[in-house]
Amino acid sequence: MLKSREELQLLRAEATKRMLAETKRIIVCAGAGCVSKGALKIYDKFADIMKQKGIDFSLELQKEPHSDSVRLKESGCHGFCEIGPLVRIEPQGWLYVKVKVEDCEEIIEKTIVNGECVDRLAYTQDGKVYREQKEIPFYKKQTRMILDNCDKIDATSIEEYLATGGYTALEKALFDMSSEDVINEISESGLRGRGGGGFPAGRKWSQVARQNNFPKYVVCNGDEGDPGAFMDRSVMEDDPHRMIEGMIIAGIATGANDGYIYVRAEYPKAVARLSLAIKQATELGLLGDNILGTDFSFKMHINRGAGAFVCGEGSALTASIEGKRGMPRTKPPRTVEHGLFDKPTVLNNVETYANVALIINKGSAWFKGIGTENSTGTKTFALTGNIQNAGLIEVPMGTTLREVIFDIGGGVRDGGEFKAVQIGGPSGGCLTEEHFDLPLDFDSLSKVGAIIGSGGLVVMDQKTCMVEVARFFMDFTQKESCGKCVPCREGTKRMLEILNRIVDGKGEDGDIELLKELGEAISKTALCGLGKTAAGPVLSTIKYFEDEYRAHIYDKKCPAGACQKLKTIVIDPELCKGCSKCARNCPVGAIKGEIKKPFQIDQKVCIKCGACVSTCPFKAIKEI
């Protein structure tokens, strides 16, 4: 248990020394993407081989590392998930991609023993081999601050976090600054909430600090429910102490002594990592009573979500921590006044808290130097969908869509053609080619009817039907609607019914106008953020892709060729042998013909189920 600032500094200095003494490292990415592709087997294989060969190696930060020993480390997500499993070799900084268990022997033999690069495992783009990770275009355009530790440290070791300068900001906030200083620094930095709304964090903190109603609470929204977003997951799993440090500092600034982290149930590893981190910090005396011998005490609790998207909304989230159904309530009073257990509450998301220690350490002036005037700092994005380089990225606010999709993302995958990018999940909207030079920041995006949201960027190619995408999001929101207010409960249901009809080829004249009217009404009248933004994907796809809606409704065609019910199924008379198998399998008797002569489909009867297509032994039946 550390009793003073000096004791913490000593421990940190010692950990740093040990970390610096490690020269050779094999760092295996153990992010979700790489693990699902077999990263842990690779980690075990490396250990086996080194054991067999009698190579001096260690799985954790050694007490007295020496220059010959090799450190084998399981780190967090390196971000370039597309080409995982990833293995980085230090001190050279070489990155090996798509590593297989069979490659481990060669890596140990050539790289670890002889110091040579295995070029066939290095990343190649346009015929050029990139040995070093930092030279790869995917990484070169990024500014990794929040995610900096993710591909470097072992998240289960508090010593490694300390060795990267961990808990220095806590020290500063406890000993060198007053709570007003902390709030001023955060306000000055211009940090805005990274959960979607973009509310200035400093203002929120000062509103809580000024109240004389105790106890107060610090709550972290780790209920990252947007489909297609996994940035916060990475921070919680791969660098949990960074977020915890930010929350303790929020406690110092606002006078709160309890912190609650609300984590999504689908992230069991994040729960485990955070629990471990809290245990470690408590054992060292960085959490608990009288932190580092001061009179400040702070305790941390974890609540697991139970699968309700609406709990990402502030008042629903606090209700859920209280053990109730996660239903939003009318505001005001706002969470800063009547939040958790009806007490003043600071509620920020994971990435917002992860920025705090950086700002306290390096100062607001430094932070303001990154990003744009009104959107300072960086933003993490999950780049997914039909994109070449799917993964987790971090760029300064204001980076253009073109840089993100093409320079970092490598463009549309499999040579497809770009159609749109969906940003902000079910609350957001889509951006098209005309927005390529749009800076990604809070204000520029809200001007074009989209939001940064938590940071999911899903790229869609020409084979994606935008009407179907809108239907998909509405289906999601409708299922997640808590049912408390009528506009959201009934309105999303009606909108979904209309969209279902359209993609089924039963769209009617007036549907587009009705969707717009309903969408606008829901946005104006729903109780909470989920409802207010529910129509976003529909309204934005109508705005940019009205042609596609019209084609579905009036021509009964899906231009992207994606909607099953709008396909026409035909039998190629050249290929059909007249075996009658299709006719026997057709559930509605739409196929007729004479044996040994080409059969035909009655389009009026056909329900486009596709049963005939998969049963035809001669591949004579096609969907067009």
């Binding site: 489909p227 309700a308 209280e322 053990g323 899903v458 998909f472």
Partner: protein
Amino acid sequence: MSTFDYTVLDNAIEQFGNKESSLISILQSAQEHYRYLPKEVFPYLAEKLGISEAKIYGVATFYENFSLEQKGKYVIKVCDGTACHVRHSVPILEALRKELGLSEEKKTTDDLMFTVETVACLGACSSAPAITLNNEIYPTMTPESAVALIKSLKENA
């Protein structure tokens, strides 16, 4: 039902504290142990925690993760998050349902071997389309590989 074993609930109450705000955590422990929430849970917790059965039922049915019906030995979740959706997750779901004779309404096979559900996002978007089998992620699936997985589970059963 005098034979019902309440130890799991008692332990959870002990661990999380006998208060309303522990309700969700206690239900989660019960769900993890039984793989669903047996009906005996409700009156017992109502009495212990001093909240009405109706309120507990309200919480249990509000959250997607709680199930009042028994789930299969193998719980398969097909991710239908945006990234998986645009990389064609729906055909995987349909293939699994067809193979096991399941539907949107009927999620568990009669022999209690398989449950097929969807999940909005696993956060494994770079491995899209992904599914999980009892929480282990299987990346870049196809309808064929999903059906093959079921077949191998059946053979090893």
